[in-house]
């Protein structure tokens, strides 16, 4: 839609308005991501293979995670802030316009720091993951699926704020997803494993997509697509219902 394109264009323009700050923030984030890669390299150097994962495959995982994280937190930056916006009354400006609120809110802001994640992830893949043409296409597709899933999850947990009146659910959701997402999922067993594939689908945002880049598995690919779709629907429904309970920050200001 023309309106959403125009919104995205403005978001880009605003992020690029201070190029020096943008470059600095992106660099810092890339260093940050690099430190995690170092950890994993040190770990696997010491430990050898673990549950079918080794240094090379963990690097692919980090590449997918940072790429999807960068796309979601960087380009759809308000996804993480839905809870805060709901409780703080920051949705007024969106609701005053004849636009579908959720897409507009998501596109409206770009977070320069997380663009560093995106740059890092793509670079890491190209430099360290021996990209083949098929592998690259897979990487792009699974990263997009992962981005969708992550964003939907963040919106869903954030939208719970409409119902409970506090924004912590969004923050907790964000932190747990990113933390757990960084792990090679096969390490976990039992109830935790089930949880990581379903309710808190951290396994689906990096470990599963990364595995697909190494070796395509139709079942897992389908599971990823379904997870993305299910969470997108859940997020949209929760957000829409939540808007009915929106208080525009009035409760807080009155207190």
């Amino acid at each position: 839609m023309r309106a959403l394109r125009a919104t995205a264009r403005n978001a880009f323009a605003e992020a690029a308005a201070k190029p020096a700050a943008l470059a600095m923030q992106m660099t810092v984030m890339m260093i940050n991501d690099f430190a995690w890669v170092i950890f994993w390299v040190l770990f696997f150097d010491r430990v050898g293979t673990l549950g079918g994962w080794d240094r090379d495959s963990i690097i692919v995982l980090q590449a997918v995670l940072t790429t999807a994280g960068g796309l979601s937190l960087g380009l759809l930056a308000n996804g993480r802030r839905i809870g805060v916006m709901a409780v703080g009354g920051d949705l007024d400006a969106v609701l005053a316009l004849p636009v579908p609120p959720l897409p507009f809110v998501l596109l409206r802001r770009i977070e320069p720091v997380n663009l560093g994640d995106l740059a890092f992830g793509v670079t890491l893949f190209l430099v360290a993951c021996h990209p083949t043409p098929v592998g690259t296409v897979t990487f792009v597709l699974v990263s997009l699926a992962s981005t969708t899933l992550l964003t939907a999850f963040l919106v869903l947990t954030g939208a719970l704020a409409f119902f409970i009146g506090r924004s912590e659910s969004g923050e907790l959701g964000f932190h747990s997803m990113l933390l757990l997402g960084a792990y090679p999922v096969d390490l976990f067993a039992g109830a935790i494993r089930v949880m990581l594939f379903t309710v808190i689908p951290a396994a689906m945002i990096a470990a599963v997509p990364a595995g697909l880049v190494g070796e395509f598995d139709a079942g897992r690919a389908l599971a990823l697509a379904i997870a993305a779709a299910v969470f997108t629907v859940a997020a949209t429904v929760t957000f829409t219902l939540g808007l009915r309970r929106y208080t525009s920050g009035s409760v807080w200001t009155r207190a």
Partner: protein, 313 residues
């Protein structure tokens, strides 16, 4: 009717478990505003003004009651209504801080479905009407608050709305800027027939913009009349506070009520329709006893209290 509301109620629940309590922000509100009117919706802080306007613009869902704006129920048909109304909330910006107003207008034009020629035409028109053309190409963060508000006003008028809702638009502006802004609203209404619905807790907005004033307090309408009538009854009072070096007797003219009288302080209420303020001041200043003198409008809470002899907040 451009705006019609019956029995609008909005209850907020806050606090947790034992401390849980309900706040009735708006209580059974009835409202009728015809097209082309200029209405000031006045009340002290916490009276329910912002909540009412957010319900009428579709941002909040009411707990009870019904309303139509331009024939549409706001919270059910929000997006359709948004194409025909404009909103300017003093503390929420439509403009992007790092970009120029023109870049924001480009995006808004896309949102409202204006094609490029219409967009250019409208920007030029508004630039002239609001005297803000030279502001459009500077980053918004470089503009003063008064300049920003003129650009915000342009933004919410791009799509030629039939009604303009403004929520505390002059907050933070200096006196001159406020005055200019009010003049712009009047001009807008007179040239383009836009209905103006303005909330404020500044009495001067009644005097200079509105033809009709609706006063709301504790979530209910307590006064609704032509401003001319209100002017006759209420807006003529001034409070005079005098610091004294030596005791002096109270002034004698009619229309002067003594609130407080000690050896060092005198407070008076003057009904300026009965006695011009000048007469009272002349009498007080005739002699060396006055150290300090101030003349102020009575606070809005007091005006409202006077309207209905309710205890002031």
């Amino acid at each position: 009717m451009a705006i019609e509301a019956r029995g609008l109620t909005k209850v907020f629940e806050t606090g947790r478990r034992k401390a849980r309590h309900r706040i009735e922000a708006v209580r059974s509100l009835d409202l009728d505003v015809a097209a082309g009117e200029r209405v000031a919706y006045i009340g002290p802080n916490g009276a329910g003004k912002s909540t009412s306007i957010k319900i009428l613009t579709g941002i909040l869902h009411p707990t009870e009651g019904r309303a139509t704006v331009l024939g549409v129920t706001p919270w059910e048909d929000r997006r359709r209504l948004a194409r025909r109304i404009g909103t300017l909330f003093g503390q929420r910006s439509l403009l992007w801080l790092e970009l120029t107003p023109r870049q924001s207008y480009r995006m808004l034009a896309a949102i409202y479905g204006l094609d490029r020629p219409a967009e250019q035409r409208r920007i030029a028109e508004l630039g002239e009407l609001l005297d803000s053309t030279d502001l459009f190409d500077q980053p918004v963060r470089n503009l003063s608050l008064g300049q920003r508000m003129r650009c915000e006003l342009t933004a919410c008028l791009l799509h030629e709305p039939e009604i303009l809702f403004l929520d505390e638009p002059t907050i933070g502006l200096d006196l001159i800027a406020k005055q200019r802004f009010r003049e712009l609203l009047v001009r807008l209404n007179e040239h383009q027939g836009t209905t103006i619905f303005l909330t404020s807790h500044d009495v001067a907005d009644i005097e200079h913009v509105a033809k009709r004033a609706i006063v709301i307090n504790h979530g209910e309408v307590i006064y609704d009349d032509e401003v001319a009538a209100m002017r006759r009854t209420l807006l003529g009072t001034k409070i005079v506070e005098v610091g004294l070096l030596a005791p002096i007797p109270a002034p004698t003219p009619l229309g002067v009520t003594l609130l407080e009288h000690t050896d060092t302080l005198m407070r008076l209420v003057v009904d300026t329709h009965t006695t011009p303020i000048r007469t009272v001041l002349d009498e007080l200043l005739d002699g060396p006893a006055v150290a300090d003198i101030s003349v102020v409008d009575p606070p809005l809470e007091q005006v409202i209290a006077e309207i209905y002899e309710l205890p002031a907040r």
